[in-house]
């Protein structure tokens, strides 16, 4: 095996499609080629890092806390100041990050405003609608972001509706007792959603209730996805039925 073939062979190994003799040739080549050993080591390190990152990052509050700690850390301040003085390129780069961070803060703040208004449509006044005409530009921006988020929320709700429709399929191959368990747990999550909505109506500013609501939404989507994945596993060997499930997902 040549070095040019190693990447292809590694891909095949990852997919489980590598023949036994090719695997032996790959092992033999890697054992003797230092460059390819490095390639394999990099690939494994990357895999491990991706696994460690996981699907969930720290919560927004955790990030706030990290940022606050760094701001209050004199050693961090001193090092950051020294870096800024010594290298103007770094300084410019830092300002790009600051601009990006500012944009992100704007998006997050706007999304929270949107969330508050959309969840409390009956009672909550539109905070920016009453602002001065001088703020018309920022109003437009926020309104635009709100529209985007509104659209995203609708997609989100449609996705849940589609998932629910598939999961409630009367021809579900899942054992009825297991399906009953799934439905019970969906009701538990629905209760959490209702609790969070209720809390937001009482206190539209509550970040805790907002996080709780979105957490419950995410959990519901995950559970529905897992349920459908299970149904697909059960129907393996019946591609026509699996296709029907997939098309059902797009009807939301």
């Amino acid at each position: 095996m040549r070095c040019e073939d190693v990447q292809h062979a590694l891909d095949g190994q990852l997919l489980g499609a590598l023949k036994r003799e090719d695997a032996a040739a790959l092992d033999a080549h890697i054992a003797t080629c230092r460059e390819c050993q490095a390639v394999v080591a990099d690939a494994r390190r990357l895999q491990a890092e991706v696994r460690l990152i996981g699907t969930e990052g720290p919560s927004p509050r955790s990030w706030e806390r990290i940022a606050a700690s760094l701001e209050n850390d004199p050693e961090f301040q001193r090092t950051a100041a020294a870096d800024l003085q010594s290298d103007r390129r770094v300084w410019r780069l830092d300002w790009r990050w600051v601009a990006l961070a500012a944009a992100l803060i704007l998006v997050v703040a706007s999304s929270l405003l949107f969330l508050r208004r959309s969840l409390d449509s009956s009672a909550a006044p539109a905070p920016l609608a009453a602002s001065a005409p001088a703020d018309a530009g920022s109003d437009d921006l926020v309104t635009s972001i709100e529209s985007e988020l509104d659209l995203a929320a609708k997609h989100y709700e449609n996705a849940i509706a589609g998932l629910e429709r598939v999961a409630n399929d009367s021809e579900s191959p899942i054992d009825p007792a297991l399906m009953a368990t799934v439905k019970t747990n969906l009701q538990i999550i629905d209760q959490a959603i209702d609790d969070s909505r209720q809390a937001l109506r009482t206190d539209p500013q509550s970040q805790f209730a907002q996080e709780s609501l979105f957490d419950a939404f995410r959990r519901k989507v995950t559970l529905l996805q897992d349920t459908i994945s299970l149904m697909n596993e059960m129907r393996k060997g019946n591609p026509a039925r699996a296709t029907a499930i997939a098309s059902g997902l797009n009807k939301g």
Binding site: L52, I188, Q191, L230
Partner: protein
């Protein structure tokens, strides 16, 4: 062993002799109205039931055992396979228990027992025809159960059940990918990557090194006495999730309706979540460790054996209690903060309707 059986048989005989009398007395007492105790004559006790002869008892016991189990077994099938680093055992099972034990060397072994439960002429035929396919590729061993469709579909009400139980000796370093639709899974002493998804049944792991995922839709997930490289991910939907005596880079544990427990364990990071259950963290935090515990309708209980930590507890409707000095958190929130020792580790605790309790000494 013989003594135990004798004891069980004696207990059975005594219970059989006592049950008819007890069973007769209860309905009799319940049938008498309270106001009629003085006037009503108590009903005569039923005649004692003659003790069954030993051969009858054996026959009845056999019938009862058949009704409880009713499984017709095939012979044990043993399939060897080659495992080791870089090889994955990929097993999908519909119904049955799976036991996987780590072994030395590169020689693995599958011990498979097929079982059919049902009645009618097709049962024996079914047992003969449903097959286990074991396919070995360069870096994957795939095991599947295949059941041919019957030529003559059975009539209404006929529900044969087919299960396959596995006992697997898995060579050191071999990765395991297991999907078990219904049945319990037990894993012991495995050095390779482990990913198990059980739909209905418990998943129990012990002495595992690389826990990519242990998950059950309906059942408990437990990991004990393990030193895990990187993250240990334990998930359930309806069941408890427990880590006991686990040392890992990080712990990710979650369920919807069940409790989450971390006992006598150590990890640099932990994300523990449930919706309607409680969370218990009874372990010492690591220096600079970060622990996020979140439940919606349950309580959170943290008890640490030592080490400095800081915590931030938010209970939207419940109370926060602690044996360490606390102070209010963010203005207008129901947040409480506290610190112990150097405060290097950090706990982020949130419960929507439940209570939160933080103790610096382990109580339980």
């Amino acid at each position: 062993m013989r003594g135990i059986w004798r004891g069980v048989m004696c207990a059975g005989v005594l219970t059989a002799a006592w049950l008819p009398a007890a069973g007769a007395a209860a309905p009799h007492e319940a049938a008498i109205p309270l106001g009629a105790v003085d006037s009503a004559q108590p009903a005569p006790p039923p005649p004692p039931r003659p003790a069954p002869r030993p051969e009858v008892r054996v026959h009845e016991r056999q019938i009862r055992r058949d009704a409880e189990r009713g499984w017709v077994d095939s012979e044990v099938i043993v399939r060897p396979f080659t495992g080791g680093e870089g090889i994955t055992l990929d097993l999908m099972n519909m119904l049955g228990d799976v036991v996987v034990v780590g072994s030395k060397g590169r020689d693995g072994r599958l011990s498979i027992v097929r079982r059919v439960r049902g009645h009618g002429p097709d049962t024996e035929e079914l047992l003969r025809t449903f097959a286990i396919d074991v396919s070995e590729y360069a870096n994957r061993v795939a095991v599947r159960t295949s059941m041919p469709s019957p030529e003559h579909p059975p009539g209404r009400g006929y529900r044969p059940r087919v299960r396959t139980d596995y006992e697997i000796a898995l060579p050191s370093g071999t990765a395991l990918e297991l999907k078990n639709m219904q049945g319990n899974v037990r894993l012991t002493n495995l050095g390779g990557d482990v990913r198990v998804e059980a739909m209905a049944g418990d998943v129990v792991g012990e002495a595992l090194s690389k826990v990519r995922m242990l998950r059950s839709m309906s059942g408990d997930v437990m990991l004990s006495r393990s030193v895990v490289e990187g993250d240990a991910n334990l998930q359930s939907v309806s069941g408890n999730v427990i880590a006991s005596g686990v040392k890992a880079g990080s712990l990710t544990m979650g369920t919807v309706s069940g409790n989450v427990q971390v006992k006598s364990s150590s990890s640099g990071r932990a994300v523990l979540r449930t919706v309607s259950g409680d969370i218990e963290f009874a372990s010492s935090p690591r220096k600079a460790g970060r622990y996020e515990l979140k439940t919606h309708a349950g309580d959170i209980f943290v008890s640490t054996g030592g080490g400095g930590f800081e915590f931030e507890a938010t209970a939207f409707k419940g109370d926060v209690q602690s044996d360490v000095p606390t102070h209010p958190g963010a203005p207008g929130s129901r947040q409480v903060r506290g610190s112990v020792g150097d405060g290097s580790a950090f706990f982020d605790l949130t419960s929507f309707t439940g209570d939160i309790r933080v103790m610096k000494k382990q109580e339980r």
